[in-house]
């Protein structure tokens, strides 16, 4: 066999995440593999890069989260494994892998096994359509946003499978809580994304990012967040994304002090780790979508910072959003289930619906001063009215403690 010398394609810091793909393709071409194998190898390497990057981020986050929470709660946090606990994720991984895998006698083993797998898959699929950098869009789908929400629908079913197949009470209660919460908060999540689609005129996520390019007055980024409808929609998206990711203060499905671990109660060992992984990957996916839709994706925040590789900006913004989640987790108490439902249906969904006409007016009035004058009152007045109503009339009734008070 004749080895043709294939020049290695040039790459810059910008296309550094493409390196594994280029390397695999180069190697395969070098040994004279057929074209279809080169394509498959390159795609697999690209998928592997995305999964690898986000799994490392998951390992890092599991440590950062414990350290941050410890700092907020005036503790030290993990500090035994390695320098400042840096090896803690590795120790956790070994612990999870070597634990016994217990399947309860009353469980349906097939569904019990399928649930943790099906909860990781949609998160990884959703991460695949995210534009992570200018040249780093793993799959540039025309229907990217729709794909994101479609695969997200599988999460609810797998949570149900986990809860039901475990064959005991706590998982079932946790799954019912989780599903009702996810269904309720998916509505404001999707509705608040509609305004972005209307303004961009495309469901392709890279188009949405490209549409937010540029700066107003030379300094304010042209992000969707810095428009009246975008600010409202972004805020709603942020709140709903916390609930979708089952984070505190909306962590009722797995409220440790109430129902052990919700739908994950009967899981142990690596299956439990898979749930954990699915949850964090889902968190990355939903926060990444928020960054893409409202915070300009991989666009630099200041005009003179354009020389930094774009994927660094994406991950920096993602880190800021996730740190804010941790901060909220360390600060707010868990809400009650009736408060949770009332907030979604009576406050978030009406306000999310209002962002659609606001976005439409924003486009039709030419995105100038007039649009600000029209859209700000359209959003502000109902918001003030809703806040007053919510605080006075619609607020959950004060709980009466029948036995303790009498």
């Amino acid at each position: 066999m004749i080895f043709a010398t294939v020049p290695f394609p040039s790459f810059t810091l910008e296309s550094l995440p493409q390196l594994p793909k280029l390397l695999v393709e180069w190697l395969l071409t070098l040994v004279g593999a057929p074209d279809w194998l080169v394509i498959i190898g390159g795609t697999a390497a690209m998928a592997g890069t995305v999964v690898g990057v986000f799994l490392s981020a998951f390992a890092l986050l599991s440590l950062v989260e414990r350290k941050t929470l410890a700092r907020i709660q005036n503790r030290l946090g993990p500090n035994r494994a390695g320098w400042f606990g840096i090896l803690q994720p590795v120790a956790d991984g070994i612990k999870m892998l070597t634990k016994e895998d217990i399947v309860p006698t009353k469980a349906e083993w097939l569904l019990h096994l399928a649930a943790p797998i099906l909860i990781v898959v949609p998160s990884i699929l959703a991460l695949g359509v995210m534009p992570l950098g200018r040249e780093w869009v793993p799959v540039n789908m025309e229907l990217g946003l729709l794909f994101f929400f479609s695969v997200g629908a599988l999460t609810e079913l797998s949570v149900f499978m986990a809860g039901w197949a475990s064959g005991s009470k706590f998982p079932m209660l946790g799954a019912m809580r989780a599903i009702s919460q996810m269904v309720s908060y998916e509505l404001p999540l999707i509705i608040s994304a509609l305004g972005v689609i209307m303004v961009t005129g495309s469901l392709r996520l890279s188009d949405i990012v490209a549409h937010q390019e540029g700066f107003n007055f030379g300094i304010i980024p042209n992000w969707n967040l810095f428009t009246p409808w975008g600010f409202a929609a972004g805020l709603i998206f942020y709140i709903a994304s916390i609930a979708e990711a089952n984070r505190c203060p909306f962590d009722l499905p797995e409220g440790e002090s109430e129902i052990v671990a919700g739908h994950m109660t009967e899981y142990s060992g690596f299956k439990y780790a898979l749930f954990f992984m699915g949850e964090y990957l889902g968190l990355f996916a939903i926060a990444g979508l928020g960054v893409t839709l409202f915070l300009g994706g991989w666009q630099a925040p200041l005009p003179f910072l354009g020389w930094v590789p774009t994927w660094i900006w994406f991950f920096a913004k993602l880190a800021v959003i996730i740190m804010s989640y941790l901060w909220i987790r360390g600060t707010f108490p868990r809400v009650r289930i009736d408060q949770l439902m009332r907030f979604a249906w009576l406050c978030l969904i009406p306000m999310a619906l209002l962002t659609i006409p606001a976005a439409a007016l924003w486009v039709f009035t030419g995105k100038g001063i007039v649009s600000w004058v029209v859209t700000v009152p359209l959003l502000m007045i109902p918001w003030v009215i809703l806040t007053i109503l919510f605080n006075r009339r619609l607020a959950p009734a004060t709980r009466t403690y029948t036995f303790a008070d009498s």
């Binding site: 789908m141 479609s150 079913l157 149900f160 499978m161 039901w164 079932m172 269904v183």
Partner: protein
Amino acid sequence: MIPLLILSPLILLAALGAVWKARPVHAALLLALSLALVAVLYLTIGADFIGLVQFMVYVGAVAILIVFSLLITRPSDEAEEIQRRPRSMVTGLICTLPVLAVLLIALVKGDPLTLPAADAPPLSIARLGELLFTTHAPAVLAVGVLLTAVMIGAALFARDIEKPKSNQPEK
């Protein structure tokens, strides 16, 4: 053609399982599986939008609705099995035979589908949206009215149940 040959037996098997399984939750999950496989079929023939919407609506909403209503209406599902009666077979046939007949008549007597040329550009999502909201706007509006009516009805049902309860536990 090959995806159709692989997928259609799987879809049929899942659908048959949904009918024959004795435990309602199994039946619901198999129904979700067959609906998801139909979505995959749409994706393989290039109807991306329909496939993704099928997945989102049927797996994300309809299947969840079914399992959730199962859980709420029968809390002690443990090992409960559906009683099979000859009468339910008859009602099932009465419901499904007309549908089957209409499908068969359409298959035999209807005009054969004219497939677009293989090199025709795929329908873009913008064009699809334009068609839905211009040519087919009446149908979209009718579906919207229907769904709104259903939602108001559901809200009224929920309201009626909530009213007469008093939250005083006995002492």
